[in-house]
Each structure stands twice: as structure tokens, then as C-alpha cells.
């Protein structure tokens, strides 16, 4: 493991990912990232069992399902406790390519940015059209509510500096978490870079019930609005 990678912690929230979680972790490890934290968000399938068979992985388990935002936050808290300098978050369904981790962490390690946001929409080749519309609507709402325009406000593939995660304080437990991070970047005037990433849309990732569907999108928008007035 290179010295550079030893400062990087990878956080993977996972909920009912028994089919792919092993391959996702092994793929990340193949890029010589060994500080891996997987948060099993109260999975009801055999995700926990699959994770227990893996070496060199810190597995944390939510006793009950609390949502992607809550699981990501738990992973980030753990990384902070373990002394991480750079924290990368990516999804547990295999849609993110670990090859892009180096691109995301580079501006953080070079201290050119506090946060690196992976963006699918700078080069959306292969992205389903409904996902593009969905994400653009998410961007518009995020900009309207939180005041910062980014090209992919819903991407879960991001990298943070230690200083950034010390400041960022989110309340959203579910998909609104991603937009809340944008709000925190704006509030604390954190520097950020948008890095084009490759996303692998497989039948598996597209057919998962808990993914960002239209109904979930409406619910997320409702939660974002609610948190502004509540």
C-alpha cells in the first residue's frame, strides 16, 4: 500500500447488496486501497454474512435500516475516529468505478479543494435518459433551496478532506443527504471541484427497489423542503 493511499479511507454504505458487495470490495482493494469501511445499513439479506468473509474490511452494522445518508454519515464518523485525512464515499451496488477514486482524491491531496464531487452529467454517455432528467431536476431544486449550482447534486461518489468533514453537518438520513452536503459546501464556503466519473448502470443497479426512483425523488424533494421549514 502506498503512503498516499494509507491516508485515504473509503466508505461504502450497503443495504441488501448480497449479490455484489463482495465483488465491489475486492475491486476497490485491487486498486490498493486498504482502509475500507462498509456500513451495512440493516440489511435483511445475506450482506452481513458476505462482508464477514472479507479480509481487511471494517464492517459496521446499523441494527435497523436508516437510509443511505445515515449509513454514509456513520462511515464518515468512523473514518474520522480512525484518523483519516481523505474520505471517499461510493455506492455499494457497484455502479461506481474504483478507478475514479484516484481522480477524486487528487485535488484533495494536492490541497486544491476541500471536496471533490463525482459528476455523471459532464459526460452522461450511457446514462438512461430518465436518470438525466431526474438528476437535472435534483440539481435545480438543490440550487433553488441551497444556493449552489453543481452538475450532479445526487452523486454519492465524492471525496472529502479531513477539514471538510469536520465542518459538514447533515441531518438527512436518506437521499436528501447528497443535496445537504452541497448546502454545507455553500454555507462553509468550502472549495470544491467537479470530477467527471464513469457510472456502470447494470440491470442489477437499475432494478433495485430502494434506488432513486421517481417516487423516491418526489419524497426526497419533499424532505428537502420540509427541513427548510421544520
Amino acid at each position: 500500500m502506498s503512503d498516499k493511499n494509507s491516508r485515504i479511507f473509503i466508505v461504502v454504505p450497503a443495504y441488501n447488496e448480497e449479490a455484489v458487495i463482495e465483488s465491489v470490495i475486492r475491486e476497490i482493494q485491487s486498486y490498493h486501497y486498504s482502509n475500507l469501511i462498509v456500513v451495512d445499513d440493516g440489511s435483511t439479506d445475506r450482506t452481513a454474512e458476505r462482508l464477514s468473509s472479507l479480509d481487511r474490511v471494517i464492517t459496521l452494522r446499523h441494527r435497523i435500516n436508516r437510509g443511505k445518508g445515515a449509513a454514509t454519515k456513520t462511515g464518515i464518523e468512523a473514518a474520522k475516529l480512525l484518523g483519516a485525512d481523505v474520505i471517499v464515499t461510493l455506492d455499494g451496488d457497484g455502479q461506481h468505478d474504483p478507478a475514479d477514486i484516484a481522480k477524486l482524491t487528487l485535488p484533495i491531496l494536492q490541497k486544491r479543494a476541500d471536496v471533490a464531487l463525482g459528476t455523471r452529467l459532464i459526460n452522461p454517455a450511457g446514462m438512461p435518459w430518465h436518470k438525466i432528467i431526474h438528476n437535472k431536476l435534483g440539481n435545480l431544486l438543490t440550487w433553488y433551496l441551497f444556493g449552489l449550482w453543481v452538475t450532479d447534486s445526487q452523486s454519492g461518489f465524492r471525496a472529502y478532506s479531513r477539514q471538510a468533514v469536520e465542518k459538514i453537518n447533515t441531518r438527512g438520513d436518506r437521499y436528501e443527504y447528497e443535496s445537504e452536503v452541497i448546502r454545507e459546501i455553500y454555507i462553509y464556503k468550502l472549495t470544491f471541484k467537479e470530477i467527471p466519473i464513469r457510472v456502470r448502470y447494470t440491470d442489477y443497479s437499475m432494478n433495485k427497489a430502494q434506488k432513486q426512483s421517481f417516487c423516491n425523488g418526489v419524497r426526497t424533494a419533499g424532505k428537502m423542503l420540509w427541513k427548510l421549514i421544520a
Binding site: S34, N35, V39, G42, R56, I58, T59, L60, R61, H62, R63, I64, R66, G67, A70, K73, T74, E77, A78, L81, L82, R171, D173, W226, K227, A230
Partner: protein, 118 residues
């Protein structure tokens, strides 16, 4: 009692009878949390709806006897406002509880952290 019924009256009747039926069966099946008091409240609320559906003029008689006949709109508006405030408070409480649950879940998950070694 009206000789013809509007659609909304039929819907109110159907819903009210269903709620009364459900409350009664729950009580007699001895389901947990079903007390006699709850059953009586249910009868008062949904039974009242049925009575008003059959005798709509009764609302005017009640308003007249209470002395609010001229201010009935203000009373209804205040009622809506109170209900809105109650819903707002309830949703805020639920939100707070959700966050507390997440925080507890997180603390419990992080307890295992020192035991793990890379």
C-alpha cells in the same frame, strides 16, 4: 332527513360505517390498545358524522344553541388552523425522533469500531 343524497354524503356514510365496524370488531376481538373509552370516542366522532349526514340541519341547531351561528366561518377557519398546527407539530416531533433513532443506531454501530483492526 333528506330524501336525496349527494355523492359526498354517501362517501361519508360509507367511511363512517367502516370506521365504526372496524372499531367494534377490534374491541370485541380484544386487540391491544383497544379500550372502551377509545370505542366510545370512535362512536361519538363517526356516529356524529352519520347523524349529520342524515340530518344536516342539526349543525345549525347546535351552532344556534352554542351562540356561534354568526361566526361559524371563523370557527371553522380556527379549527383548520389548529389542525394544521397540530400536524406541523406532529411531523416535527416525528422528524426529531427519526434523527434520534439514527443517532442511537450510529452510536451503537460505532461501538464495534475499536475492536476492528485493519
Amino acid at each position: 332527513m333528506p330524501t336525496t343524497f349527494h355523492l359526498y354524503q354517501i362517501i361519508v356514510l360509507a367511511v363512517s360505517f367502516f370506521m365504526l365496524y372496524q372499531g367494534t370488531t377490534n374491541f370485541f376481538k380484544g386487540k391491544s390498545g383497544q379500550t372502551l373509552f377509545k370505542l366510545l370516542v370512535r362512536y361519538a366522532v363517526w356516529g356524529g358524522m352519520i347523524v349529520v349526514t342524515f340530518f344536516p340541519n342539526i349543525t345549525f341547531l347546535i351552532a344556534k344553541s352554542v351562540g356561534i351561528i354568526d361566526n361559524i366561518n371563523a370557527v371553522i377557519l380556527t379549527g383548520f388552523l389548529l389542525i394544521f398546527l397540530m400536524i406541523f407539530k406532529l411531523l416535527s416531533a416525528i422528524e426529531r425522533l427519526e434523527q434520534n433513532i439514527s443517532e442511537l443506531t450510529r452510536k451503537e454501530a460505532l461501538k464495534d469500531l475499536p475492536k476492528n483492526n485493519l
